[in-house]
């Protein structure tokens, strides 16, 4: 895997694994043992690169207070207020996710209350934005206040930084090259898409990305219990990591299957993973059990999401942004049942295929197998969703960052994935849509201007290949990202062929 000879750079861990395979073909445990050995013994206590760290934090702290994606941030506003008023998380509808991010917001709301601040600390309803909310249905007149924006985004920055630290140390451990690790750190922490999502949008998907990355690393170093716990945190943040279940279980089973007393060890490892996941899930659901809110959570997470679907986003259905395919939107809306059935089937098939890929690859190289299998599963799940928001990329971007910088392959697709979704996000309601806090809380720009700009962007006719002006941007951004993901899959297949066959 990741044979660097014809690419100019060698990755110590991967090469070690490949050489072990060549030396003793079919003896999978050597690859596993060697990888684990490298992972366990190779790390040093590295200090994070201070320059990029400072730059990343400054950019985030500057952007965070006065920028907001108010359609989502309004939900965080209401959720934090439920903590402020002591209302159980799911008693009022609105927060339609598993509880982890809701807990964090409720804790924040309680702390703000205890600090003596009034409810206006969280934000206001600014009726100047009512027309934009009515016209677009993707905007709201709730404007989150700078202080609240900063506080809840700082929680996201903490996960950005934790993820960066894990990436940095893991890449260094795999490659033995601090410079490469520093580049990986920068590629994540200074990534424009990551910064946009945490500092402007306020999307909590980075928590999922961190949980997935932690799960993979903890499995690789043989800490299945904590890997299960990390996986459970991911699932109870946004459900999507549940798609990794089959792959992770098979990977754990296969990685140990040729060691002496393999059955006992395999069972022990699987049991550890299951126990960790079960205990963590039990802990995370316990507050809801005590509040009597489990039924309300299930209703909010599942039942309230069942409306006629729209298609698009960063998925294959992004094709509909091209004018010749624009009719797909109405067709899908009118045939929601068929679309859901078809996409769900495709997603299940993809999950199974990636699990098979992982089973095959993880025996040859555990890092390659587990990382490509996990990224592939989550990315395919996203590509095959009827509608995929750009922030879903954060589920697997940390793992991808590790893999690209450890293997030295896939830089161009990585660059596209880091930039195109930013353009997509900005095009949803136009570049001024995120400036509502600036308009409401400063005199720099009138609220009416932001409101009118949002409406003007949303209703603007196309100039190029789309059905609307936004579609003109959506189409290349979405299709470029989809193409980049598929090209990564091709790179991995080539890598596997070069290294293992």
């Amino acid at each position: 895997m990741a044979h660097p000879a014809n690419r100019g750079s060698a990755e110590q861990a991967f090469r070690t694994a490949a050489e072990a395979l060549k030396a003793a073909s079919g003896v999978a445990q050597r690859a596993y043992l060697r990888t684990v050995e490298v992972l366990r013994a190779g790390a040093t206590h590295l200090q994070l690169p201070l320059g990029p760290l400072t730059a990343g934090l400054v950019v985030r702290l500057v952007l965070a207070p006065f920028a907001a994606w108010n359609y989502d941030d309004a939900v965080w506003f209401h959720t934090a207020l439920s903590g402020y008023y002591g209302v159980p998380l799911y008693q009022r509808p609105g927060f339609s996710y598993p509880p982890v991010w809701g807990y964090l917001l409720q804790i924040l709301g309680t702390v703000i209350h205890a600090s003596g601040f009034g409810p206006s600390f969280f934000g206001v309803v600014d009726h100047n934005f009512a027309p934009a909310a009515s016209v677009t249905s993707d905007y709201t007149d709730v404007v989150t206040a700078p202080g609240f924006n900063l506080l809840f985004k700082v929680a996201l920055f903490a996960f950005d930084l934790l993820t960066a630290a894990v990436i940095y140390r893991f890449v260094n451990q795999l490659t033995g090259k601090p410079k490469r690790a520093r580049l990986a750190f920068m590629a994540w922490f200074l990534n424009p898409f990551v910064i946009y999502e945490s500092a402007i949008h306020g999307a909590f998907d980075v928590i999922v990305g961190f949980a997935v990355l932690a799960t993979l690393i903890l499995i690789l170093i043989g800490r299945e219990y904590w890997a299960g716990a990390a996986w459970a945190i991911g699932i109870l943040t946004k459900l999507s990591p549940v798609t990794l279940g089959l792959e992770l279980v098979l990977a754990i089973a296969v990685m140990e299957n040729s060691i002496q007393q393999s059955t006992r060890f395999t069972v022990r490892r699987l049991a550890g993973f299951g126990l960790g996941a079960g205990v963590a899930m039990g802990c995370l659901v316990a507050p809801l059990v005590l509040q009597g809110s489990v039924q309300a959570m299930l209703h909010n997470v599942f039942a309230r999401a069942q409306t006629p679907i729209t298609i698009g986003g960063i998925s294959i259905s992004g094709l509909r942004y091209l004018k010749p395919f624009s009719g797909l939107l109405v067709w899908a809306f009118e045939n929601s049942g068929t679309v859901i059935q078809a996409t769900t089937t495709a997603q299940i098939v993809a999950i199974v295929l990636w699990a098979i890929w992982t089973v095959i690859m993880v025996r040859k190289d555990p890092v390659f197998g587990l990382f490509t299998g996990s990224i592939g599963t989550l990315a395919s799940f996203m590509l095959l969703s009827p509608i995929a928001n750009p922030q879903y990329i954060l589920w697997w971007l940390p793992a991808l960052t590790v893999f690209v910088f450890a293997s030295g392959r896939g830089y161009w697709p990585f660059a596209v994935i880091s930039l195109a979704p930013v353009f997509f996000s900005l095009a949803i309601l136009g570049p001024t849509a995120s400036l509502a806090p600036v308009a409401t809380y400063t005199h720099l720009i009138p609220a009416s201007v932001v409101n009118n700009e949002v409406i003007a962007w949303y209703t603007a006719p196309p100039r190029l290949w789309g059905a609307t002006l936004a579609d003109d941007v959506f189409a290349p951004a979405s299709l470029a990202t989809v193409a980049a993901i598929i090209s990564l899959f091709v790179v991995w297949i080539r890598l596997a062929r070069e290294e293992f066959w």
Binding site: S82, R92, P93, T110, H113, R223, A303
Partner: protein, 362 residues
């Protein structure tokens, strides 16, 4: 192999563990009863009330914690009849079509309204009803008084209202309150499993069968907004201001009804029209957001505003930063009738829970 050899990743295990334990413990602590009580520490009481032939004056005592910043107080005269505790039935049937409402509204209106009422300890609970359940409620005219049916899907199901059927009018006449939202009431009559077509449009005639003529102005206008709040809208901090299918103010006067919403010209966004022993509470336009509409509806129904006599007074109080109880003397701009006045107090902040009401009789 020594499983403890990989100590360099121990910090990651620690982070995962700390995240897990920290979040869970904090959530349990903040949702424990003592903390909840501390957070809901706003209270209003009526210290005295004086009703003379010249003036009505009430004195309020407000105790609060330092984070509470605002309090809205409203009062309106009541007729000399008892005000029932309202039982609410919300129509929610995904088999039937909807119109002039956002896709999440038909189900969301039940979720939000029941939550808004539950957090304010309103009894009895709100009940969701299917088209068949709705027909069952409407056919039970004997128990119509004290019952409210909420239909905010823009379409009445054909089994309760069609060219040949009208279960709504007799039920309202018998004392029920029909709440409507989503375009003009009576315009659409939807069939089970069928998308709306021209065959389902009863049009203006359908509206007139329910409300009478010259109540809703045709053609209706999508997106029209009211810009002047009525006395009740100001008093209850009502925000719904769509008047596209709003009720004509003249018809409200003619039918001894109430303007509870925002006015644009001769139209209002929310009107209560008495019919027989009951009435129609009409939200006169599209419903883009079930959340804010539910807050408005909860305030209107909990306050008993639909039983008012037309006048309303309000006072916005900015609470002092200290936690010392405050006394407020309020001279009302109307005299108290035999039924007395309804005093309502609530925290107008978004998502605030506090709601107080008391009927004060002379």
């Amino acid at each position: 192999m020594d499983l403890r050899a990989g100590a360099q990743w121990t910090w990651l295990e620690t982070v995962v563990g700390a995240l897990l334990v920290g979040v869970v413990v904090a959530e349990i602590v903040i949702s424990s009863s003592p903390v909840e009580r501390a957070e809901q520490g706003l209270a209003v009481d009526v210290r005295s009330a004086s009703f003379t032939a010249q003036a009505s004056t009430i004195q309020l005592v407000i105790s609060h914690g330092s984070p509470h910043q605002e309090l809205d107080v409203a009062a309106f005269p009541l007729p000399a009849k008892s005000i029932p505790q309202l039982s609410m039935y919300v129509y929610d049937d995904s088999r039937f079509p909807a119109a002039d409402v956002a896709p999440t509204v038909p189900q969301g209106i039940f979720d939000h309204l029941s939550a808004e009422l539950a957090t304010r300890h309103h009894e009895p609970p709100v009940v969701a009803v299917s088209a068949e359940g709705l027909a069952g409620v409407l056919l039970d005219t004997a128990r119509a008084p004290g019952r409210v049916v909420v239909t905010m899907t823009g379409v009445l199901p054909a089994n309760v209202f069609s060219k040949d059927t009208d279960l709504v009018s007799p039920w309202v006449q018998a004392g029920g309150v029909a709440v409507w939202g989503g375009g003009a009431i009576g315009y659409w009559s939807g069939r089970n499993g069928q998308p709306l077509s021209s065959d389902d449009a009863l049009g203006e005639a359908g509206t007139q069968r329910l409300l009478g003529s010259n109540v809703v102005q045709y053609p209706t206008t999508f997106g029209r907004l009211g810009d002047v709040p009525s006395a009740f809208a100001s008093a209850l901090d009502v925000t719904y201001n769509f008047t596209g299918a709003g009720v004509l103010l003249g018809s409200i006067t003619a039918h001894a009804g109430l303007d509870l919403g925002w006015d644009s010209g001769q139209l209002t966004s929310i009107a209560y029209l008495p019919r027989g022993s009951g009435g129609f509470l009409i939200f006169g336009g599209e419903i883009p957001d079930e959340g804010s509409v539910s807050v408005d509806l909860a305030r209107i129904l909990m306050s008993g505003a639909i039983f008012g006599m037309g006048q309303a007074a309000s006072k916005h109080l900015t609470l002092a930063g200290s936690a010392t109880p405050e006394t407020v003397d309020w001279k009302l701009p109307f005299l108290a009738p035999n039924g007395g006045i309804m005093l309502v107090a609530f925290d107008p902040s978004p998502d605030a829970l506090y709601f107080f009401k008391r009927q004060i009789k002379p």
